[in-house]
Amino acid sequence: MSLREINPSAYANRFDGYTELRLQRNASVNIVLLNGDLSGNTRSDNSGVSSRVFQDGIWGFASRPELGEADILATIDDATRNAKFLAGRSGRAHVALPSHRASHSADFTTQGARRTQAEIVEFLHQLDTFITTEFPKLKSRSVQLADLDMEKQLFNSDGSSAYSNITRSLVVVNMVYINDQGAPVTLRKAFGGRGQFEDVFSQPSDLHAEISDLHAHLVNKLTAVVPRAGVRDVIMDAELAGILAHEAIGHTTEADLVREGSVAADCVGQRIASPLVSMVDFAHSYDGVTLPVPVYVDDEGVTANDVWLIKDGVLQDFMHNKESAQHFGEAITGNARAYQFYDEPLIRMRNTAILPGKDKLQDMIASIEDGYYLMWPSNGQADSTSEFMFGISLGYEIKNGQLGRAITDTTISGVAFDMLKTVTMVSDEMTWGCAGMCGKKQIIPVGMGGPAVKCQIHVGGE
């Protein structure tokens, strides 16, 4: 049953105070071929209703898995009762949230026929066969499909209504060799993005070139050298620039983390980066193209707008939900998002990116005498101080302006508000991805983008 068949506005007469009513369904597919065996073959379908009520500065929240009329009414009543209970003990002076009415519908499910499970497994099997045929000496390989559809139907007491079905389909390939020292050497890459499987992947052969590229990098890693620890000149390629934008700056400018004490709190209007650096949390589109995680109306019923975080090196604005916008006296931005039907909306990024510059990647590499070209991240974490850490799964030495040997897995770190001041070149190419999940009480898909960036950064190693 599509959530479109339920009209949440029909329950408005049950609302008591500011109230949100959200129906949501998350459907996921996870299929793993490990060395040709199907080690994972799971589907998940979770749906339900949640309601959130705001009274005297206190939120009440409740959720249920059933979607019947009585269940929806009971959920609203439970949320209202929770708000009244806690407000009775700990209520604060009356706080009015910003009022806003929005309406939008966005559906990113395929308009074509769905592939059968047999067709999808065959697609993955053909990829696995390609890998074993082309690269028979691999110690281990895996091919994984990870699909997620998030369907939401929202109505609130401001009169906002929104429907969305945001989809993502990823194929993740992992390869392992054993090097001359007998140690495993691994490299993985995710392909795909927004859309359902049918719209993202056509033929297995479409991925052959990228898988061969992945393998070529893995072969280079077999003779990788350990990087020299310390502050180095580096080129951070687009994927790293995206995670830098998200982790190192993005989190420090989420208004709830600003209230907690983030270093960004005192820096609005100040230069925190090179004038070459501009950064935006885009709501749904950039340069006329729909982004990986498009948000038109957020889970508080607010129109999602782009938020300029850094403009020409100067810190601009924070990302808000209704409560933080009211606290700071700033405009609502539409950044409140929830992952599952039973989750409350939190301030989350949508599609965060450093904007492209005017330099050519080759010129940037050529400008470094002794440094590193860092290409793919493995994971990342940020801090209230803007100190960040990213794992690096693929990188190369740069010697005298030329790419050299691959480097072993390592970690880079720095203080973003210092490091971004060292940026001297920004490439003119923009790459977007959405393979990761951001964790902040709940996980949620986010988009990240960026060009290549030349800067100085602390590299882990010997």
């Binding site: 979770n46 898995p65 620890a229 709830d256």
Partner: protein, 425 residues
């Protein structure tokens, strides 16, 4: 919902033609009391139900999870499961647990005490304001979680279980003027809210640390030294070993411990156990359909058990673990913490590690967060922008002391651990 739904699901799986079927029905409820920025902010009640179905036909297996229990939803799910299993390649390692006697498991703390939850949270907020005025609690909360579950399979296995526990957690930052500490956090799982939250786990110690870590310094120079790993991040340093003992790396053959049973993988003072039956955040039944047992994984430095479920055990030809992992405890050692600290000539006291994913052979590097520089046996000053690097397999062999003192998080239980030979830059 448990018994009727499970029986109905098994009937439907058999009727569809599956050779083997298993069902896990779970009813979960959670009451969460939350505070933001040092004041109560939300009361959240979450109810959910899940049906986890697995079916095997001709050695082909698929799994499906849904949160609806009506007959039509179950029938649709079984039909979809059939399609998924039919499309899968056959694998002789696919199996379900063999016949076992029916068992019922009942834990404590099955009902929440909402007023005590409120009182404990208020007390914690007041304590934080008065004791650590520079600390802001970004998000803090007290929750009660309870589950009722039935696992059953077509071999006649039926396990019923119910359990509940409280959780308290807080994430916080200290700030003075324009200087701010790194964020920090602690959490505890417990059967009873019988003492102040701040006195549980590491709350008081870490909030005091944050207040003292607002202004940090870089270490004087790159060096090789000692680490004292606090209980808050022991999990980060033993996680590589435990992950390498699990199904994925063992099946793929990439685990560096794949030939390691009964060989030395750590210093003699290192004993690691998985204690799902002893911890509030534990479990009674494993995911593959067996009663959970407490298991010694590493005993005085020697590997005694892999962490393989039924499929991974059949795939590798090794023994199935009697635990599904998690709930890890490291045995207390023999040295007082003060003596360990006094023995450090030069090194770090590390409370949080923010690192990249280690390589398959255990090489790691990352940032020492919420940490202190230690010199001549005493804490010198809080640090920032400091990286540590080494090899996680070597690190376990280079443990030189384990503390008498331990911290019980309710989901794990760890002492302080001292290691030598770590690169610090």
């Amino acid at each position: 919902m448990a018994s009727d739904n499970v029986d109905y699901c098994l009937e439907q799986l058999a009727a569809r033609g599956f050779d083997h079927g298993e069902v896990r029905a779970t009813l979960s409820e959670k009451d969460e009391l939350q505070a933001e920025f040092n004041v109560p902010s939300m009361l959240r009640t979450v109810r959910n139900q899940t049906l986890e179905l697995a079916g095997i036909v001709n050695h082909k297996k698929a799994e499906l999870t849904l949160n609806k229990t009506d007959p039509q939803s179950v029938q649709d799910a079984v039909a979809q499961l059939w399609d998924c299993a039919s499309a899968a390649p056959a694998d002789a390692a696919n199996a379900i647990a063999e016949a076992q006697p029916h068992q019922v498991f009942t834990g404590p703390a099955l009902s929440p005490d909402l007023n005590t939850m409120c009182d404990r949270l208020d007390e914690f907020l007041d304590h934080t304001k008065s004791s650590y005025p520079s600390v802001t609690l970004g998000m803090a909360g007290v929750s009660h979680l309870r589950t009722r579950q039935r696992y059953a399979n077509s071999n006649g296995v039926v396990f019923d279980s119910q359990r509940g526990h409280y959780q308290a957690q807080a994430m916080f930052t200290a700030k003075e003027d324009h200087d701010v500490s790194s964020f920090s956090y602690s959490g505890v799982s417990t059967y009873a809210l019988d003492k102040p939250i701040a006195a549980c786990a590491s709350f008081d110690r870490l909030m005091a640390n944050s207040a003292a870590q607002v202004r940090t310094r870089k270490i004087p120079q790159k060096f090789t030294g000692d680490l004292i790993i606090t209980p808050d991040c022991v999990g980060s340093f033993i996680g590589f070993l435990l992950g390498s003992l699990s199904g994925g790396p063992m099946i793929s053959g990439t685990s560096i411990y794949k030939e390691g049973l009964d060989t030395q993988v750590g210093a003699e003072m290192l004993t690691i156990r998985s204690l799902p039956l002893d911890m509030p955040a534990g479990y009674f039944v494993t995911g593959d359909g067996y009663p959970a047992r407490n298991v010694t994984v590493v005993e005085r430095g020697y590997l005694r058990s892999y962490l393989l479920d039924l499929y991974a055990a059949r795939k590798t030809g090794l023994d199935r673990a009697q635990t599904a992992g998690g709930c890890y405890a490291v045995d207390a050692g023999t040295q007082p913490l003060a003596q360990m600290l006094a023995s450090v000539e030069r090194g770090l006291l590390v409370s949080r590690f923010s690192g990249g994913k280690p390589s398959d052979k255990g090489d790691f590097s990352g940032v020492a967060k919420n940490s202190f520089y230690v010199e001549s046996g005493a804490l010198a000053y809080p640090i920032s922008e400091t990286m540590i690097s080494g090899n996680l397999a070597d690190l376990l062999m280079n443990i030189t002391a384990v503390s008498i003192e331990t911290i019980d998080f309710g989901s794990s239980h760890y002492p302080w651990i001292k290691v030598s030979g770590i690169g610090i830059s």
